[in-house]
């Protein structure tokens, strides 16, 4: 080998050695960094675990505190306000609870915002807000689907614009959410309302793991609200029963006063040995009988109600001349001296029907009595009995020109103990229409009411055509019989 070749080789070896040394150093460095990294990773994991443990711990403490608040009282409106104040600011910048009301309106019952100015704005714009139930986000959606909703970016403006009115839009804009969770409050399979957590002031965003806490809170709120609502309903039922008992006592004592009074009056006359005025004796005895009939009637209605409650009210259908039955009630009403003209329009051909004559007569009497009672100024009470072949139904229409029924009472008129004109002291116990409807239902029919704009009330009893016993081939409409 040439000397120059040897030198070159030596140089290359040196270079290689130098590179090996560099590589060894790099390797050492890498090992060192790896160790450092592993140490750091270990510390991070420990930190993360600690952080998670702390969050879980905080959530548990929060839920325990929330449960305590919820259990404290049955006044859930106050309780829910405390809950939203517990949520803000640790878990949300904004928290609201909405409850579904009896009239299917969603009402905002509690609200807290981290910024008192914004909270005041929402409050000033009205705590009670109605939502369109078909809205594609927020409380209406959660109520409809029964599922929680998590949003980590602002709601699409197109959806918002179409669902909210200008005032609601202004509120939503002011609140400026960029992330929210809305969870339904579900108890015994029913959605009672929703709870909403919103983030707007901080840069935080909700993530799916946050749902768990909100749902856990929603469950506790739902149970508390459900218990409180059940308790209120029970209280209302007790109150209604007490009011009814007081009204029933009043109704029973009135004829009793007349009855006792006349009996005592007769006694006094006998004591005096004054038997001369026989007409007065007769009048007194007639009154006593009349008042005892009134009492019997009232007691029968009370018994009917308890029979209905127990499911003991049964009907005993037999072949009945329905036209004759209605005619009888009309003649009875005509015989009573009052300011009313009671008329019947029916076909000359009697309708013979399978129904319970005693119970059905009670229905007709109830409707006619009501028509007279609620037309204190008098007027015409018209009954119209018809068989509509097209729909194969029998209809009895009772119309009056009386007080009518105020809009707010209309949906309740068939409720037990309900009186639309209670303040007018026209008597009665709020049972007549309720019992009448039950009797008609037992016959497979129904009673409906119409409220014409010109006043008065129309009650329409509809019975299925299959109750007709021997369909009259020559049944005539229009109705040309007047009684």
């Amino acid at each position: 080998m040439e000397p120059s070749g040897q030198t070159k080789l030596l140089e290359e070896v040196e270079q290689l050695q130098s590179r090996v040394t560099t590589l060894e150093e790099t390797l050492m460095q890498c090992r060192l960094e790896k160790e450092q990294f592993q140490t750091a990773l270990g510390q991070s994991e420990a930190h993360l675990k600690l952080a998670l443990d702390q969050t879980a711990q905080k959530h548990l403490v929060f839920l325990a505190e929330a449960s305590k608040v919820l259990a404290a009282t049955l006044d859930y409106e106050t309780t829910l306000k405390t809950i939203t104040r517990l949520v803000v600011p640790h878990l949300a910048d904004f928290c609201a609870v909405d409850l579904l009301q009896k009239n299917h309106v969603i009402e905002r019952v509690a609200i807290t915002h981290i910024d008192p100015v914004k909270e005041a704005l929402v409050l000033r714009k009205g705590l009670i807000r109605t939502f369109d139930p078909n809205t594609s986000f927020g409380p209406p959606k959660a109520l409809r689907t029964g599922q929680p909703e998590l949003l980590s970016q602002p709601i699409e403006s197109s959806a918002v614009n179409s669902a909210l009115n200008s005032e609601q839009l202004a509120i939503l804009k002011a609140l400026n959410f960029h992330s929210y969770i809305c969870a339904p409050l579900v108890a015994r399979g029913h959605s009672l309302g929703t709870i909403t957590f919103g983030l707007s002031e901080s840069s935080r965003r909700y993530v799916p793991s946050d749902l768990e806490l909100v749902q856990e809170l929603a469950l506790r709120i739902a149970q508390a609200v459900d218990n409180a609502q059940l308790y209120r309903e029970a209280q209302e039922a007790i109150h209604m029963r007490e009011e009814f008992l007081s009204l029933a006592a009043h109704e029973l004592k009135t004829p009793l006063t007349g009855l006792r009074g006349y009996a005592q009056l007769l006694n006094r006359q006998l004591d005096k040995g004054d038997l001369s005025d026989l007409a007065r004796f007769r009048r007194a005895l007639d009154s006593i009988l009349e008042q005892s009939d009134r009492l019997t009637h009232l007691v029968s209605r009370l018994l009917d109600v308890s029979r209905l409650d127990l499911g003991w009210l049964v009907i005993q259908p037999s072949v009945t001349d329905l036209t004759g039955l209605v005619e009888g009630v009309v003649r009875l009403a005509q015989a009573n001296p009052n300011k009313h003209r009671v008329i019947l329009k029916a076909s000359d051909i009697p309708l013979v029907v399978m129904l319970d004559p005693i119970r059905f007569e009670q229905v007709v009497i109830s409707l006619v009595d009501n028509a007279i009672k609620y037309s204190p100024e008098g007027g015409q009470v018209e009954l119209q009995l018809d068989w509509l072949r097209d729909s194969d139904t029998i209809t009895l229409r009772v119309t009056d020109q009386g007080l009518g029924i105020p809009v707010e009472h209309r949906q309740h008129i068939f409720d037990r103990f309900y009186q639309a004109h209670r303040g007018a002291y026209l008597g009665g116990m709020g049972l007549g229409l309720h019992i009448a409807q039950q009797i008609v239902t037992l016959h497979g029919g129904q009673i409906t009411a119409e409220f014409p704009e010109e006043g008065g009330t129309h009650f329409i009893v509809t019975l299925p055509g299959n109750l007709i016993y021997n369909a009259p081939l020559n049944f005539t409409t229009p109705l040309d019989k007047e009684v």
Partner: protein, 121 residues
């Protein structure tokens, strides 16, 4: 039998109760006026000044509360009012309208006569 000592106004929406009270008090020698509600009664007190008013509370057209308020706003002296009611809250109603006395229904005719005698002597 006493001579006619004064007029009693009976306000009650129940025909039979008005009749019984009238007959009883007339037998005792009182002149009795009756009205089926507060509105009719107000018309009557303009024409005659009753010495005592027997007042039912729950009546159509004008109830006992509205009548007593309107009656007390009339000028001149006012007759004592005895509340006659079948309501369970008879004494409460009587105190609400500051009635002089209260006779819950059903009442005894002797009680009625005694009470009327107490106010018309």
């Amino acid at each position: 039998m006493k001579s006619s000592t004064g007029e009693v106004l009976v306000i009650d929406d129940d025909d039979t109760i008005r009749e019984v009270i009238s007959l009883t008090l007339e037998d005792e020698g009182y002149a009795v006026l009756t009205a089926p509600n507060g509105a009719v009664a107000l018309e009557l007190v303009y024409q005659s000044q009753p010495k005592l008013i027997l007042l039912d509370m729950r009546m159509p057209v004008m109830d006992g509360w509205a009548f007593s308020e309107a009656y007390r706003q009339l000028p001149g002296t006012h007759a004592p009012i005895i509340v006659l009611t079948a309501a369970t809250d008879a004494t409460l109603f009587a105190s609400q309208i500051q009635a002089d006395s209260c006779l819950p229904k059903p009442f005894d005719l002797n009680q009625l006569i005694e009470l009327v005698e107490r106010y018309i002597s």
